[in-house]
Symmetry: C2
Subunit: 251 residues, 2 copies
DNA sequence: GTCTATATCATGATAGAC
DNA sequence: GTCTATCATGATATAGAC
């Protein structure tokens, strides 16, 4: 019911399809109207006729995908809270709520697993147009999920949670944007009986969750950094002045 | 001694400086020769005269920075192994060895903290030219650090270590590429007496290390994913067909 | 409504005067 | 070494034929 876009010609749909593939492959700046139209078997001017501009095309493309994605995320979070209780959700569950709709998005698309890379592209595309779009369209759900994480991590100050969320999201963006996600996923699940979506998401969450849940103190890391810094300083000085005897060494 | 580049005119140095700033700010594709030359106060043809092409300019820029950076990383790793013993290095120390030279790189550059963003740009730039460059110039040090991590994590199979390293590096790239690294770092260190490099690196390592050290099993995450998936399926079916009883779903 | 042809602009690169 | 002038190419966007 409710076909995705009703008032569109076949070429318009093909343009969206081609644009999505090229966006995933090359990013916003690097994809040209020529590539889009030739890959869609349409005329060069087709994009401007059907959408008005390149930006408008991408905007429609992202809106069609991400707005629905975020809507599903919100509904799923509400459903989880109603089912299990607001304060009973742990970090893994909230992360699942964020990731499961992304997987479902990839399911009904042509690309399949490639649609997850669409998310990675969007998160990491350097074009300001894409950044602004993300900023605007993620604001509404950010606060909602922030609260969910805050309840799952009651001992974490809100400042700290904000920082960790920022880090986690950027780290996730880096992971999703990778060229060879498929190989990574395959290698990730080596030795497992079946490579299904559940396992893949579980591994991804097992990878991201520790960034949020790891305890506070970093005295161990501070000591490590200090020791290495001392060695680096020593090496830098002895590199210029070779007449030195200490075992600190210069290579 | 041995000045970095001896046979260069002043304008060539200014071109490199301007190119670096623009590369950090906008990335490879988005920076134009016109921007570079005007910002350097040079003529439009200056880049092609001094370097031969835009690619050659970036290549020289990156080589000047990253090759030295990686060299310092290798030397520092060797120094650490000699000082503390090959099998005594833990994950935090090896990560420190990777990060400390990056910080020193930023120290003597004009940009200061901006030079860390140079690394982020390089890691996340979508241009194939940059990707190829990274691939070629990081191969030599990858094996060396892989072995170091393998000794620090003796219970981790090599397959698994490879996957986790790939993930960690991509996550790090996502973090470093962020537009607002400065704010993040500031927020990251809120409540601390002094915001120095040591503390910043310690926090970064405390953030990255858990991805490598977190124990194996993900049954908890698998359960979370399964529960959320069930709710998602249920929501999807009831949304379209309110009169349905089976939980198997049709989409 | 759709596509052909074209306009306008910016890019990287080159040739040649000085 | 540096500059001006120019090239060929590819970018987005528009006018107008059918």
């Amino acid at each position: 019911m409710t076909a995705p876009y009703v008032n569109s010609s076949a070429t318009k749909a093909r343009l969206l399809e081609a644009a999505e593939a090229l966006f995933i492959e090359h990013g916003y700046e690097a994809m040209s109207l020529r590539q889009i139209t030739t890959q869609a078997g349409a005329n060069l001017a087709a994009v401007n006729y059907h959408f008005g501009s390149k930006e408008a095309l991408i905007h429609e493309l992202l809106t069609k995908r991400l707005d629905r994605l975020n809507q599903e995320r919100l509904e799923l979070l509400t459903a989880c809270e109603q089912r299990y209780g607001e304060d009973a959700l742990d970090v893994s569950v909230v992360l699942s709520v964020l990731f499961v709709p992304g997987l479902r998005l990839g399911r009904d698309s042509a690309g399949g697993a490639a649609s997850i890379r669409l998310l990675g592209r969007v998160y990491s595309d350097p074009s300001p147009f894409i950044r602004d779009y993300l900023h605007d369209h993620y604001k509404p759900i950010y606060g909602r999920f922030f609260d969910a994480f805050a309840r799952a991590l009651p001992n974490l100050p809100r400042n700290e949670l904000g920082v960790r969320l920022q880090f986690s999201l950027k780290a996730l963006a880096g992971v999703l944007a990778s060229e060879n996600m498929d190989e990574l996923v395959a290698a990730m699940c080596v030795g497992e009986a079946v490579i299904d979506d559940t396992l893949m998401l579980a591994r991804l969450i097992a990878f991201i969750a520790p960034m949020l849940t790891t305890p506070f103190g970093q005295t161990e890391q501070t000591n490590a950094v200090k020791r290495v810094m001392e060695l680096a300083e020593a090496a830098a000085t002895t590199a210029d002045i070779p007449t030195r005897r200490e075992p600190s060494a210069r290579r």
